[in-house]
Symmetry: C2
Subunit: 226 residues, 2 copies
Amino acid sequence: MEQTYQHARQLVAVDCIIFGYEDADLKVVAFQRKLNPGRGAWSLVGGWVNHDESVEEAAQRVLHEITGLENIFLEQVEVFSKIDRDPGDRVISVAFYAFMRIGQQDKKLVEEYGAHWFSLRELPELVFDHQDMLDKALDKLRRKASYQLVGSELLPDRFTLLQLRKLYEAIYQRELDPGNFRKKVLGLGILRQLSSKDMSESKKGAYYFKFKKAGTGQNMERIIKL
Amino acid sequence: MEQTYQHARQLVAVDCIIFGYEDADLKVVAFQRKLNPGRGAWSLVGGWVNHDESVEEAAQRVLHEITGLENIFLEQVEVFSKIDRDPGDRVISVAFYAFMRIGQQDKKLVEEYGAHWFSLRELPELVFDHQDMLDKALDKLRRKASYQLVGSELLPDRFTLLQLRKLYEAIYQRELDPGNFRKKVLGLGILRQLSSKDMSESKKGAYYFKFKKAGTGQNMERIIKL
DNA sequence: AATATAAGAGTGTTTTTTACTTTTAAAAAT
DNA sequence: ATTTTTAAAAGTAAAAAACACTCTTATATT
């Protein structure tokens, strides 16, 4: 069953826009390229696609190699394939965005690979077409988050509605009304309220919430209007 | 600048879900595969990606080769890359959906290539993962059409609001209120009313409309609620 | 015990969506 | 020539969603 087809073969890569959330700000991982062309330039995390893996598996592998984490949340963005997008060779790249908590789990990424978390506004110039990838990824994330509640992979295991709202404000770069956000989000019925409270932000204390186990609900209701 | 990177290379293909519109029904092109594996099975239109073209260019080329048309409306759906998706070899395929008017322009496609237009409901079983591709394409089309008015590439050059509404009804497989549809669509301000009328559907006659030149408006307003 | 804070609940207005009804233009039938 | 018929086109009214606020509450801090 091998080599049935005779045709030119291509280098295929994956590039990951790794989103994180810290200090009420959406952040992205970039690191300085080790090889030429573009050595030293800021780059997204990427790697080659092997014969024995799908592009999703390749992305998971690449992320595993540099973080040690498994089963990272991933979403395909799109294929970037202009013939001269990488001056080194003709490389077809599939872009993904990923969610990762900033903190312990990304240690390897940060310490061994010299990766940096950049806030969206203070991002340096990126190599090749990586800025395009990021723009498209943000677009896609915003669209997704507008009709599905996202955040379980970015926020701590339990979180307050303030934290969730701040995350949404970071994603959309605009303020959201606390009362209306609460009403909307709780109305979806996909959060479970815990009995414990976070007392750090107010005197009254805000209840912690958790996402009900994944795959529940998410019935295409609109969360915010774009 | 060539061969800078040493890594396994992959067969990369494009597969196109070609949508057409006829008899108030959304249709799709399928044809019977010429080669093994899967010879004789119904398949989407596809082809290989060459070294000197992007995946978009490859899709345009493939569509040009079998229809003679140029500048076909194309939208990337996603990458399908399960290692065993094609039993002949490991093939990474980028799926696109395309819009094409049913009639003259697809003659070559139909006559030389033995392609068939199938209504969505009477589609035969498709080879490999082509049904998945179609499902994802429909999903993406529906989402797009919900906040951007689509159809200029599917409808005749000038069309009535009835025709446009019927197209939307075909896309969403549900009825839409005529008055509300008209109000919404005209409110977008991207259609230009002509002075001529179509008299075939009613005694009163329905004005023809045209899309204002492409790229106008399309300001993310919601057209229909999913 | 009083104060201050943000959580949490509530309220009224505006906008959008949805479901209908009425009027209109013009061909076809009487 | 008038009436009938058809779907277009315009209009209306109720329901739902989105939005902009205010008020009350729990509790750490003063």
